[in-house]
Amino acid sequence: MTGSAPPHARAEERRPAVSSESGATGRRRRSWRGGSGNLVTGGTIVVLVVLLALVSLVWTPYDPIPVNPAGRLLGMTSAHPLGTDLYGRDVVSLLMYGARISLLVGVAAVVIAMVIGVPVGVLAGMRGGWVDQVLMRATDVALAFPALLLTIVFGAVWGAGTTTAVIALGISAAPSFARVSRSGTLQIMSREYVVAARAANRGPFWIATRHVLPNIAGLVIVQSSVAFGIAVLAEAALSYLGFGTTPPTPSWGRMLQEGQSYLFDHPMLVLWPGIAIALTVLGLNLLGDGLRDRLDPRAGGAR
């Protein structure tokens, strides 16, 4: 994680709103296979990680919390397929438990970001005028606080931990949701069916819920998968820095940090959590790309 949580700020506004229209001309059609491939690969990876995390709720090969000094730094054995860490904990169990934390952080952060960002964006896009100006200036200010910075500051103020990290990551992802929703809303508001709804005496709430939200849902979903990946990376980075999930709860980032001192003799202790993080984020990004190809009318004609 570079901490770089790319908030996909203004670049996103160039994307058209997702509202599938027929008549996608041949010129605008991208390879269908590519989009579908991304979708399948990404989806498979994500589903696997989710399954792993779900299974960890009821079963892990070993209890990942208590230390076992007798069995530390074991290599790959039949009892411990991926070995044990410096405290003698089973790496497979740690990875499974870590998946839970990563996904939890990701889901919670995305939900917070969505709950704040989407209404703000839709409101700004629908109302326009000074409301829009004020809200967008506010997101500008919010965007000036990088995710990692905000999380560390929150950690300093309220104490580091998973909850603090989730809140901070959620807040810092909200502005990109607001921007994406706003640009989507602007596109939808320029459609004649919205004018038709107004001419049919339908109020803003109806228009927002019946026309705007369903039509920007695709954009928001794509943004969610991107933000999810960013949150997973950020959680790992924070745990690595000691500002995320607190011990003894296992987390991929802290596994990396703990394994770092044994890099030369036991490189796999760093590699396994590293691979877990990279694979999860890769899966989420591929899923996001696949969804974009699927939902973006410019990218493909399919709905």
Partner: protein
């Protein structure tokens, strides 16, 4: 193949372009099924077809500009290019593009690089092919070209960026670019479709003149028969990837052989109507043989037959050019009648914040006054920026006037309460221009059509939805489908059904056919005309196209720059336009040359 094109006329000299058996395939199927076409030096050929006929991609194939997803086979020769064009590499063809053969695309707003000055973009064409020795002479040539395409101030335009120019000016720039190296062949792909009528006329003149002066061969692609008839010596009619008819323009237009050509011609001719006073339509069956005779093949019979053109008896002629236009009430109601719509001094000024002009705001409407009497069918005609859309928005209570007042059905829109507005919106319905954007892609047709209904039970809503869909000619199975499953014309029917479901008194149609193919256009116009009789509607029909309103409306308001410049009975206005702008509009509206006088209008009802 199914259709055998008539043999190309014999050519004396080697043709500039010689196309044999051109096929274009996409992953989904074949789009062009082996067409043959020759263009002699200096000859002007029109390629006619509706959307999806394959006319544009055929022309792209000539220059190697096809999309990657499409592949072309066959034999295409262009004089000056060695070998089969379809086998040439991009670099070989690029030496010919812009030098031997040039192309002008449809959409002038996006055809120019937004980051480069006009001068550089035109000069580039010449510098690329080294037809000018250096930048200084390129600049001279650019100014000369800009003068030839008649842009008002060549010096200024050369220095401008594309966004500083109007659509018409941009298209002139694109034409200048295409002709910069004096190519042997110019391909124009719907070059005027995106332009206003008066601008279209100018641009067409420019193309015709320049091509004639330079003896350039022209391939002119358009869906608009009237436009093609004004530029082409010879036409080829395409449908579903075949050339179905081919010959001298005069012959084809005066004595079409293929049934599709006949039907297309009939549908294009908005002066023509069948015995019942209805527009002639194309049978839009999907197969390539539109066997049935042109005529109201698909419409249900209308409730009452009506004359095409009939000046409303209570229309009082306006008092000529005398008084100041703002003080004048256009289309005034007779003194003993209360007008349904009464607008006085209606103005709309948009705050000139972003991109505004000198901070004083943009005038959408400048103090217009007019009446509309119950049952009237009033056309509102103007070009882009004339204020007609602003007017629509105000009448439909979607926007408020900044000055002046308007009453609709006795309600003052400026002071109406919420309840009054609700009632009013049930009385006023709108049909929008773009059938793609006017229906929410994520809603089923049943939900779309019933959206305006409020305070109505489920069962009744469903019943009324079915009823109104039947009235526009759609079956019940449309209810559960999504908009993208319908064609443009069908979507416009859905839009009309939605407008009618509240049983409004006033129907506002905003350019309802301008996005439709010619063949569908007549059907939708007939439908609107029929329904407004059937439902006793007062119709406000907004259009940029005089030809279109002429059929449906009995009186017209002509708008320009936010003002009404003239209002008359349709027939009168056509016969003798008073205002200079109206006269321009009438003369600029392309008319079908050579066409037979079609069936008489329905005077005998």
């Amino acid at each position: 193949m199914t259709a055998t094109p008539t043999a190309p006329p014999p050519q004396a000299a080697a043709p500039t372009v010689r196309i044999r058996d051109l096929r274009i395939d996409a992953a989904t199927g074949t789009l062009v099924h082996g067409i043959d076409l020759d263009i002699a030096p200096g000859e002007r050929v029109g390629l006619i077809g509706e959307s999806g006929s394959g006319k544009s991609i055929s022309s792209y194939a000539l220059l190697g500009l096809l999309d990657e997803q499409l592949s072309a086979r066959g034999d295409v020769r262009i004089a000056g290019v060695d070998g089969n064009v379809l086998d040439c590499s991009d670099s070989t063809l690029s030496a010919a593009r812009g030098r031997i053969a040039s192309i002008v695309f449809q959409e002038p707003m996006t055809a120019l690089n937004p980051l480069m000055r006009i001068e550089a973009q035109i000069a580039e064409t010449m510098l690329r092919h080294r037809t000018v020795p250096d930048r200084r002479s390129a600049r001279r040539a650019v100014l000369e070209l800009l003068a030839q395409v008649k842009v008002p101030d060549p010096d200024r335009v050369a220095r401008a960026f594309p966004h500083q120019l109007s659509g018409g000016q941009r298209q002139r720039v694109v034409i200048a670019m295409a002709l910069a190296n004096d190519p042997a062949l110019l391909i124009c792909d719907e070059p005027t479709t995106a332009l206003d009528v008066t601008v279209q006329a100018q641009v067409l003149d420019i193309i015709s003149d320049l091509v004639r002066d330079r003896d350039t061969a022209l391939l002119f692609i358009s869906h608009d028969l009237a436009v093609v008839s004004s530029v082409a010596d010879r036409v080829a009619v395409m449908r579903h990837g075949h050339i179905v008819e081919h010959g001298a323009t005069e012959t084809v237009f005066a004595a079409p052989q293929h049934s599709y050509t006949k039907a297309l011609l009939a549908a294009s001719d908005l002066n023509a109507a069948d015995g019942r006073g209805r527009l002639v339509t194309v049978d839009s069956a999907p197969d390539s043989e539109p066997g049935s005779a042109p005529g109201g093949s698909e419409e249900r019979p209308s409730a009452g037959q009506r004359p095409v053109v009939a000046a409303s008896p209570h229309l009082v002629l306006d008092p000529g050019e005398g008084g100041s236009p703002s003080a004048q009430v256009f289309n005034p109601a007779p003194s003993d009648t209360v007008p349904l719509i009464r607008a006085r001094g209606l103005s709309r000024v948009y705050p000139g914040s972003r991109g505004g002009h000198r901070g004083e705001g943009v005038h959408g409407l400048r103090a217009v006054s007019f009446d509309v009497v119950e049952g009237q069918k009033l056309g509102i005609v103007g070009e882009s920026g004339s204020g007609k859309s602003t007017l629509l928005r105000i009448v439909a209570a979607l926007d408020k006037a900044t000055a002046g007042g308007i009453e609709v059905g006795g309600t003052d829109l400026g002071r109406a309460s919420r309840a009054e507005l609700r009632r009013l919106r049930e009385d006023v319905a709108v049909v929008f221009q773009d059938p793609m954007s006017s229906l929410d892609p994520r809603m089923k047709v049943s939900a779309i059509v019933s959206e305006p209904l409020r305070g109505v039970g489920r069962a009744e809503a469903a019943e009324r939805t079915r009823e109104v869909l039947a009235a526009v000619g759609l079956d019940d199975d449309a209810l559960t489908r999504f908009p993208h499953q319908f064609s443009g014309g069908q979507r416009q029917r859905i839009s009309i059904a939605r407008a009618l479901i509240t049983r409004p008194r006033i129907l506002i149609a905003d350019e309802p056919v301008s996005a439709l193919d010619v063949s569908v256009r007549a059907q939708v116009l007939n439908l609107i005309a029929d329904l407004s009789d059937q439902y006793d509607l007062t119709l406000l029909f907004i259009s940029h196209d005089l030809g279109v309103v002429r059929h449906v409306c009995d009186a017209l308001l002509v708008m320009s720059s936010g003002e009404i410049v003239e209002s008359r009975g349709t027939a009168d206005l056509y016969a003798a336009p008073r205002h200079r702008f109206t006269a321009d509009l009438v003369s600029a509206t392309p008319t079908l040359k050579y066409a037979r006088t079609t069936v008489v209008t329905g005077e005998d009802r």
